[in-house]
């Protein structure tokens, strides 16, 4: 998870975790405009014989979903901040992010 200027939060999977699960074939994400609490399962990914469900790390409203996951998930690169981000949301000001797990923390250099 990465907080960006303007307080937008970008959520992606760590590169280590992506490497463990292999080529992704299916993706289900949240609906833009919807509000979700921390801990709600918002994203599912499927690679061969495995489905991962990932919880929302922070209360907020989904601004955008990376639709490239729907078009061709196998073609995505592994950087969770550039090609392979999952969704962006606008967090509640009072909300504190949950840390740990396969969701990435940090971000690209300079952010």
């Amino acid at each position: 998870m990465c907080r960006e200027p303007g307080q937008t939060v970008t959520v992606g999977l760590t590169q280590e975790f992506q490497a463990q699960v292999g080529r992704v074939t299916r993706f289900r994400g949240p609906t833009p405009g919807s509000f979700h609490r921390q801990g709600e399962s918002l994203v599912s990914l499927e690679s061969e014989k495995w489905v991962g469900h990932f919880s929302n790390p922070i209360d907020g409203t989904v601004l955008e979903v990376n639709e490239a996951w729907y078009r061709d998930p196998s073609a995505l690169g592994s950087c969770p901040w550039r090609e392979a981000w999952l969704y962006r949301l606008l967090p509640l000001e009072s909300s504190t992010a949950r840390s740990g797990g396969p969701l990435s923390e940090g971000g690209p250099p300079g952010v």
Binding site: R26, E46, K49, W50, V51, G52, S55, Y70, G100
Partner: protein, 349 residues
Amino acid sequence: MKNGRPPAGPAGSDSRPFGRLLDLGPCEPFRAQAFAESVAVSVARGETPDTLILCRPDRPYVSLGFHQVSSEELEFAELKRRDLPVVRRVTGGGTTFLDPSQVFYQLVYRAQPAPGLSGGPTDFAEALRAPLALLEAFGLPARLRPPSDLVIAGRKVSGNAGGTWEDAHLLVGGLLGTADVEAMAAVVRCPSEGFRTFLEEEMARALTGLDQELPDPPSPAELSRRLRAAFEKFGPWTLAPGPPLPAEEERFLHEVLPRHRDPAWVHLPPIPRAPSAVRRALRVAGARHCLLLEVPGSGEYFVLAEGGKVLSAFRAGPPSSEAPPGEPVLPGGPAWEDLQGTVRSWAGA
């Protein structure tokens, strides 16, 4: 040794970490399929050790893989006629028919770290050591066919799938006492009865049960007992039997079960997909699929394919009036080449 953790090994040697054994015995279908989700929460929170669940369904039912679309996969009239509930599991894979001849094992372990299972969420090889050892102890030439099938002479006797739920990993599977291919083919949606027959024949070739492999097959209860012993000896953890936590029962009753019984969960809407000539793909064994293809200007075809290669094909429907539905497509002809190109493209995607 990967990730600095010890490999799984037989007890006695015994550097294996401690794990809990939940032997639930015969269960109603929702409990058999989904109690592990409640356990996953406890495991992820550190309220209980990594856990092996053993159970078996007390009646037949059908399970959908998490991303499957019920209306594309299931023959609802047949489900109703046979009074089969549908359980959408949180793990991957395709549509499955489960019945009381099958014995389930479900490994639930913390996502970070995962002591004893060093390869992360898809560590099937370590997780399946115990059922594989049991099949070998029966004198059967079983092996792991990657990523997650156990096969005997190329026929699947155990299907397995994985998932990550609430910061815990699940590796779940079962041993087939009987491969009821008639029921399996009956509940899967097929565009024609000819295709259903074709599917049943393929399944009969691709699947086996212990009742076909052993002259004196064990009862489900005996199979479960032998499986438990195999996990105690060859599983990733040193097992200590224990009951479910009260919190696990509560969570199952008030959160997991209502979610699974909610039609909105069973009939999740389709996820957006890129346009594709492959309208449906049904895996029958290993890399072998039954595909329903639409070739523009030519019509619909049922295709049996392995990897990127067409093995056989039948015409399914309009628009061509030259070949009626059900006619085989001959290798070498233009239609065959079209299908081959489509399948190659699909397999390489």
